[in-house]
């Protein structure tokens, strides 16, 4: 932190956020990352619905989905829910 932390007199009550969460790249928490087999994927979009972090997005212009690894925490729910087993969780460093 380069900026000075604020005193209790300077901050909004009730922990009202002073910064947007967009700036916090929570994707760096993950150990495993989802990898998709494009042949098996039917674009059913169940993974988009199930992702608890909204880190899988439907891109209509591409007609395809996209993982946002900046915010994906690697929970593996998408892999678990995928009806065609198109998503597998791989160790990030591999």
């Amino acid at each position: 932190m380069t900026t000075r932390e604020k005193s209790w007199k300077e901050i909004a009550p009730a922990g009202v956020c002073s910064k947007s969460s967009i700036g916090f790249l929570t994707g760096d928490w993950k150990t495993y990352m989802p990898v998709r087999d494009l042949e098996k994927c039917t674009r059913c979009l169940l993974c988009v619905l199930f992702c608890p972090d909204g880190a899988i997005r439907w891109k209509p212009e591409k007609g395809d989905i996209e993982f946002d690894y900046n915010y994906c925490k690697g929970c593996g729910i998408c892999a678990n829910e995928c009806p065609t087993k198109a998503i597998t969780m791989k160790l990030e460093q591999e």
């Binding site: 932190m1 932390e5 604020k6 005193s7 209790w8 901050i11 909004a12 009550p13 009730a14 922990g15 009202v16 956020c17 002073s18 910064k19 947007s20 969460s21």
Partner: protein, 410 residues
């Protein structure tokens, strides 16, 4: 001075007085779950809703935890919110009590004070709300049904004050007050509505750098009560302590403003002193027992005993200066606790009153009486015996038992 508003006398028990005050206070949302001895409050209020006498959104929840969660959620959108509970119900709210005060949501809650299980007991003592004294809620304890009516109306003003923004518990002794019919003077609806006014909201700076009213609103999104790590959590807690300190002045102001409207006030709103000016022996208590003690004091005064009473009306924030000032010339003080702090060597009120007197110029003798647990009656004779104990302490200059049980079979 404004003239006192026209009032009607109604026969109400404590619970009905609470419901009637909430009905007149323009409450937007009530979410509640019934539990003895609070049930009548919820029943009565749901009647008002069913009869179309109020515009309130009434939410029947499946538990007290959910009831307070719904109140919190409603309150942070800017709604005026009310609930009521007791005993195990309040205990089930425990987690959400802290979330509500931490979110600075000015929810008002009536607690019909009742013992906690086990063994199961539905009767009155103050174990339930005393156990929540560190949850960040303002706590006001009343002496009778009239005071609970007046205090509920005042509570909205106190909670919603921009220098406070804290939830308020108004405690009324279970059955002794909740189920006992009294003559209660009620103000007319528009006088109450004018007194409580419309809820105001402070401006806060959001993550987008916009200054917006402090409420959840899709038009100006904000996040409140999210994670605060070791770098900021402490600062938010310090803010809550400041709000509590501010409440001391606000409670007094609201008490005196209410007096100009209704003709009624309760001491200075924080403490209610009775015959203390020249008192040598005094009892300190919280709640309805004060009524009986006043009768005992009157008798003792006729016999020439310099007896007095201090009723702590506002227990949170603790009126430290007022308690010290009220007791500094008294020679022996008995503090009454209607709850236990097991293994704590005395009850909560005793601990705190004695802590306040540590900084007094003259140190009076301070002893503790645990009484009335599980709704056990406390007679005028027993209360008189406390004053006799205090006189004995003054004569012998010796405290034999710093903590005693009143009305317990040994």
């Amino acid at each position: 001075m404004k003239s006192i508003a026209k009032q009607e006398v109604m026969a109400l028990n404590g619970d009905e007085a609470v419901a009637y005050a909430a009905k007149q206070s323009d409450v937007d949302v009530v979410a509640a779950y019934p539990i003895t001895p609070q049930t009548i409050i919820v029943e009565k209020f749901s009647e008002y809703v069913a009869n179309g006498e109020v515009q309130t959104e009434f939410i029947c929840t499946e538990s007290e935890h959910s009831a307070l969660t719904a109140c919190l959620a409603a309150s942070v959108t800017g709604a005026r919110t009310f609930t009521a509970s007791a005993s195990a119900g309040l205990a089930l709210m425990h987690e959400m009590l802290f979330v509500t005060s931490g979110c600075r949501a000015p929810v008002v809650m009536a607690i019909a004070n009742r013992a906690l299980s086990a063994p199961l007991n539905i009767h009155g003592d103050q174990s339930d709300s005393m156990a929540e004294r560190d949850s960040g809620w303002i706590q006001i304890y009343v002496e009778n049904a009239q005071e609970v009516y007046d205090s509920i109306i005042q509570a909205f003003r106190i909670a919603e004050d921009l220098n406070v923004l804290l939830p308020v518990i108004v405690g009324l002794d279970g059955f002794t007050l909740s189920h006992t019919l009294e003559n209660v003077k009620v103000l007319v609806d528009d006088v109450v509505q004018r007194f409580v006014g419309t809820r105001q909201l402070p401006d806060v700076l959001t993550h987008e750098g916009k200054k917006v009213p402090f409420k959840l609103d899709p038009e100006s999104p904000m996040t409140m009560g999210p994670i605060a790590l070791p770098d900021y959590y402490f600062e938010f807690k310090r803010q809550q302590e400041e709000a509590m300190k501010n409440a001391l002045a606000v409670i007094q102001k609201v008490n005196s403003e209410y007096a100009t409207v209704s003709g009624r006030s309760y001491g200075n709103g924080l403490v209610d002193v009775y015959c203390l000016e020249d008192a040598e022996v005094a009892v300190v208590c919280v709640g309805s027992t004060a009524g009986t003690i006043k009768t005992v004091v009157d008798e003792l005064r006729q016999e020439g005993v310099k007896a007095g009473l201090l009723r702590i009306r506002t227990f949170r924030p603790l009126p430290v200066e007022e308690i010290r000032r009220a007791l500094e010339n008294v020679k022996a003080v008995a503090v009454m606790d209607k709850s236990m702090s097991f293994g704590g060597n005395g009850g909560a009120v005793f601990h705190e009153v004695r802590h306040v007197l540590y900084d007094a110029k003259a140190h009076p003798y301070v002893v503790n009486y645990i009484y009335g647990l599980g709704g056990r009656d406390t007679s005028p004779q027993e209360l008189r015996a406390i004053y006799e104990d205090l006189q004995r302490i003054l004569q012998t200059k010796r405290v034999e038992k710093p903590m005693q049980y009143l009305g317990l079979r040994e």
